[in-house]
């Protein structure tokens, strides 16, 4: 766990999950697949970390879960965004974008 990218991801894992769940309810594996697909493999983390994050978010009432059937007919736990989670997503998205803008402005070459 010395890779600095991964540490960055840990801090923003909640945001990624919230963002992905905004599209609709999903089970853990499909969330993982969607996140790695959309990030083109840049954002990588251990699968177990996702579940820890999901359960912590449920504890904070950002997401709720219920059992359902996956595409292959197997029983899977589906997560969905709560109203609290949607509010959280707006807040976190906003603060992440301001952060990212600030950082990228810093990285632009200084005007001559």
């Amino acid at each position: 766990m010395t890779d600095p990218t991964q540490q960055l991801i840990r801090g923003t894992l909640h945001l990624l999950i919230l963002r992905q769940l905004a599209a609709g309810p999903a089970h853990g594996f499909s969330l993982l697949a969607a996140i790695s697909e959309r990030s083109e493999g840049v954002l990588r983390f251990e699968d177990g970390a996702l579940y820890q994050a999901l359960h912590r978010m449920q504890e904070r009432n950002w997401v709720s879960s219920e059992w359902g059937h996956a595409e292959n007919g197997k029983r899977a736990r589906f997560y969905r965004l709560t109203r609290e989670g949607r509010r959280r997503l707006d807040i976190e998205t906003d603060s992440w974008q301001r952060y990212a803008r600030a950082v990228s402005r810093m990285l632009e070459p200084e005007p001559a």
Binding site: Y51, E59, R77
Partner: protein, 873 residues
């Protein structure tokens, strides 16, 4: 909120399943990407990372979430149940009002009495280490008196001989005249010896206690005020400490104020002053008017002190002679001394209001039970759509919680009002009653019993509901079982409890009647009394006798006055001094007898209508200072001294507030009750006023008109004759007699009120049950009527059924009373706790009233027309 084992297992299983699903999906994905099944599985596990710690973290998260969730659900459930209950109650406002009122009255009464009992009996005393403070008394087994006030001479010897007490002091009741402009005002006082306040463990609320040198005769006079006197007379002005007030014409410095509630010994006094026993008092073994308080030494128990004082009693008897202290010494805890006399009444009262609450609870439980019967279909429906028995029970309990809240609030309001009433109407000399108030403990108590009562009334319906059989209830038209047995049990208990209270009130009533029927030995109606101390303005015996004669003449000259008498110790007088002395019969070898001694004028016996039974009364023309010494004895003394002989002409040697003298008995007067209607007459000897120099006298004035009116005129007459003379005590003698009955009358009034309310509630219970049962039998009764049963027969049948229902309650009540009445034995007078007459009449009366309550529904049932009854569902 804890999780059940099942819930914990569910959480773990859920996470295992979730992880399992993930690994399966990942493995399948990897196989599709070309991994061999074995490698795919290994790769999936690798990508998952540390599964054990992830699992642990998830389990912890889920547990916390589930606990919070359960809490929220419970509160939401309770709130919705309570709301539901409130909505139901709004639809049935009358039933709701009855329930709240019944419980509220019970809770209020119980809380008020609990507050009073708690404060009076168990509240802290404003003294240090109260368990070490004891009251010490003389006893006289011969006269059956277990607590006698103490002679100063005996106290002096106790102090010298005892080995148990760290401190010991004596208090003498006394009166001062407070001079604050205008007429002098009488002020009640305790004169205390050094050590008394230490023994008591008192500490001042303001200023200080007495310094050792202030007990000397040459010290400048000082005084400590009682809290009540300081508040009422000096408007609680703290600057009074250090200032001087004029007592008996002498400037006296106020050095301190005692804390509130310090009314010990039991008689409340306005001021406390230091005193030192003079030589005469140190050797006076006969006048008993002092109270002694002592403080147990370190490591000394009350029992050990008691044994030590038995030894002291024997030494005193040996030293002074057989008569001085023929009795023993009693060591009593101070708390027992102050509160012992009121404890039985208070505890009985607490028990009585508890019974009342239980009766109210039974009634409400029955009402709720009949309500659940009506609701059973609704409850069954809920059960059918998935509510568990526990869920339904929870809903019923939520209803009870609503009842508890409303009736608890009502109860506290009623308790506040009840405490005010207790304080206002309670006997004035009841210790600490005046300072009873609704405090947080009372609130706690009210809340606790409100909850307990609500649970009590809710438990039967809830149990019932949780066992509801869905199928049997949903079948339409099915008559529901009205669980008769439970309801009858409730009504029986009500009748039993009410009967116990009725019997208690009956016994108190009979005691009161027996007491009122006692012959006083004198006629108090129409007599006014004025007590004065003539020593200060009239220094010699001659001057005092002249002044007494002057007052008598002045009073007799007033319009409406029939007769005037003078006496040193008036029966029933609150500041009566027990002056006992030794009496020996001349020419007899018998040991000296202790007798009660009184100085009286000739007019005293006429005024009080104490009959002269033999011989003659006093006569001022013969029985004056220079005449032969004479005395009158009462019947009790005559019979015990000279059984079967004529006492007239016998000569006895006795000292009456004076040195012993030989006196000739010239007459026998009737016995009088000395202190209260239940005090037995004692052996008494009277000597004529003109042969004594006493200055502590009580004038008795018989008037034709209203003695209260006369009292005012007498006071004015005294002021006109001698403006400097204070009247220490003035009252109508009939009121004094009445005052001794105040506590008993109060007890009786409360007992009668509570038992009447209890009976009323029980009657409502019986009536309710019988109405319900008769209504549910309407069809049956209609059929009976149709096949020829007469209305009278039907009424008899229903009534018989009613009597069978309440009979167990009556029997239970009788048995309960037979056991419980022993607890109020000390409140009874000349009636046994199990008095057959009382039990019979009250039992029969209660049965009759209850039968009437059962009869009314029966009559209604018999009046129903058969056709109408049959048509009913």
């Amino acid at each position: 909120m804890r999780l059940t084992r099942h819930e914990a297992r569910e959480i773990e299983a859920g996470i295992d399943q979730e992880f399992g699903f993930h690994l399966e999906m990942r493995t399948e994905q990897l196989i599709r990407q070309g991994y061999s099944p074995q490698d795919a599985r290994a790769e999936a596990l690798r990508r998952f990372g540390d599964a054990a710690s992830a699992r642990a973290a998830c389990v912890e998260s889920d547990r916390r979430w589930q606990r919070a969730h359960k809490r929220r659900e419970l509160l939401l459930g309770l709130a919705s149940d309570a709301l539901f209950a409130l909505r139901r109650m709004r639809r049935r406002p009358l039933a709701f009002a009855v329930i709240i009122l019944t419980l509220g009255v019970g809770i209020g009464a119980t809380t008020a009495v609990f507050s009073a009992t708690h404060h009076v009996l168990w509240g802290p005393l404003p003294i240090a280490d109260e368990e070490r403070a004891v009251a010490v008394w003389e006893t006289d087994p011969d006269r059956g008196e277990s607590v006698l006030e103490v002679a100063t001479g005996n106290f002096t010897m106790w102090q010298r001989l005892q080995r148990s007490f760290a401190a010991m002091g004596l208090a003498v009741p006394f009166g001062f005249d407070l001079d604050a402009g205008g007429r002098p005002q009488p002020v009640t006082a305790w004169l205390v010896t050094a050590g008394f306040l230490d023994a008591l463990g008192a500490s001042p609320a303001l200023g200080r206690l007495f310094a050792p040198e202030e007990f000397g005769t040459s010290a400048p006079p000082v005084v400590i005020l009682s809290h009540g006197f300081w508040r009422d007379r000096f408007a609680a002005d703290p600057s009074i400490v250090g200032r001087s007030i004029r007592l008996d014409g002498t400037p006296t410095r106020v050095v301190g104020v005692l804390p509130e509630g310090l009314e010990y010994p039991r008689r409340a006094a306005d001021v406390w002053a230091p005193t030192m026993l003079g030589e005469r008092e140190q050797n006076d073994h006969s006048s008993r008017y002092s109270q002694v308080v002592a403080r147990l030494g370190p490591g000394v128990s009350r029992e050990a002190a008691s044994a030590d004082m038995d030894r002291v009693a024997r030494l005193v008897a040996a030293e002074v002679g057989p008569s001085a202290s023929t009795g023993g010494i009693r060591v009593q805890s101070l708390r027992e001394h102050v509160f012992g006399p009121v404890r039985p009444a208070l505890l009985a009262l607490l028990g009585a209001v508890g019974f009342l609450l239980l009766i109210g609870c039974s009634n409400v439980a029955n009402l709720l039970l009949s309500d659940t019967v009506a609701r059973e279909r609704e409850l069954a429906l809920r059960a059918a759509v998935g509510a568990t028995g526990a869920r339904i029970a929870a809903q019923l309990f939520a209803e009870c919680a609503v009842y508890a809240a409303f009736s608890g609030v009502l109860g506290v309001l009623l308790a506040a009002w009840g405490i005010d009433a207790l304080v206002a109407f309670g006997p004035a000399n009841f210790p600490r009653l005046a300072s009873v108030a609704l405090d947080w403990q009372a609130f706690g108590f009210a809340a606790a019993i409100a909850l307990a009562s609500a649970l009590l009334v809710g438990v039967a319906p809830a149990l019932r509901a949780s066992r509801t059989e869905v199928a049997s209830l949903l079948r339409s038209g099915e008559a529901v079982t009205p669980h008769r047995r439970l309801r009858r049990a409730f009504v029986s208990i009500e009748v039993a409890l009410a009967l116990v209270l009725m019997i208690g009130a009956g016994l108190l009533g009979r005691s009161f009647a027996a007491l009122r029927g006692n012959d006083l030995g004198f006629a108090p109606v129409g007599v006014a009394e004025l007590q004065m101390f003539l020593y200060d303005t009239n220094k010699t015996p001659e001057a005092r006798r002249a002044r007494v004669a002057e007052y008598v003449a002045a009073f007799e000259a007033m319009p409406g006055v029939e007769r005037v008498g003078v006496v040193t110790a008036l029966p029933f007088h609150p500041s009566q001094i027990d002056a006992d002395d030794d009496l020996t019969v001349e020419g007899s070898q018998a040991p000296p007898r202790r007798v009660h001694t009184t100085v009286a004028s000739p007019g005293y016996f006429d005024t009080m209508r104490v009959p002269i039974q033999r011989g003659r009364g006093f006569d001022d023309r013969r029985d004056h200072e220079r005449g032969p010494r004479v005395a009158l004895v009462n019947d009790a003394l005559a019979r015990s001294l000279f059984p079967g002989q004529d006492p007239i002409g016998k000569r006895v040697r006795v000292g009456v507030m004076d040195r012993p003298q030989v006196r000739e008995i010239v007459g026998v007067v009737g016995d009088v009750r000395p202190k209260s209607l239940d005090s037995e007459p004692r052996p008494e000897i009277y000597v004529p006023m003109l042969q004594s120099g006493t200055g502590s006298v009580t004038f008795v004035v018989r008037t034709r008109g209203d003695p209260h009116q006369a009292l005012l005129m007498l006071g004015e007459r005294v002021a006109a004759l001698d403006p400097g003379q204070a009247v220490y005590h003035a009252a109508v003698v009939e009121d004094l007699v009445d005052a001794t009955l105040v506590e008993r009358r109060f007890n009786l009034l409360i007992a009668a009120t509570l038992s009447t309310v209890a009976l009323f509630l029980a009657v409502i219970g019986v009536y309710g049950l019988m109405s319900f049962e008769t209504t549910s039998r309407t069809r049956e009764l209609g059929i009976r009527a149709a096949i020829g049963a007469s209305p009278r027969r039907i009424a008899a049948m229903v009534l018989g059924h009613g009597l069978r229902t309440v009979m167990p309650g009556v029997v239970l009540g009788m048995l309960g009373a037979a056991i419980l009445m022993h607890a109020i034995r000390s409140l009874l007078y000349r009636v046994e706790p199990v008095d057959p007459l009382t039990f019979f009449y009250i039992g029969a009366g209660t049965l009759a009233v209850v039968a009437l309550a059962a009869y009314l529904p029966a009559r209604r049932a018999s009046a129903v027309h058969p056709m109408e009854a049959m048509r009913r569902p």
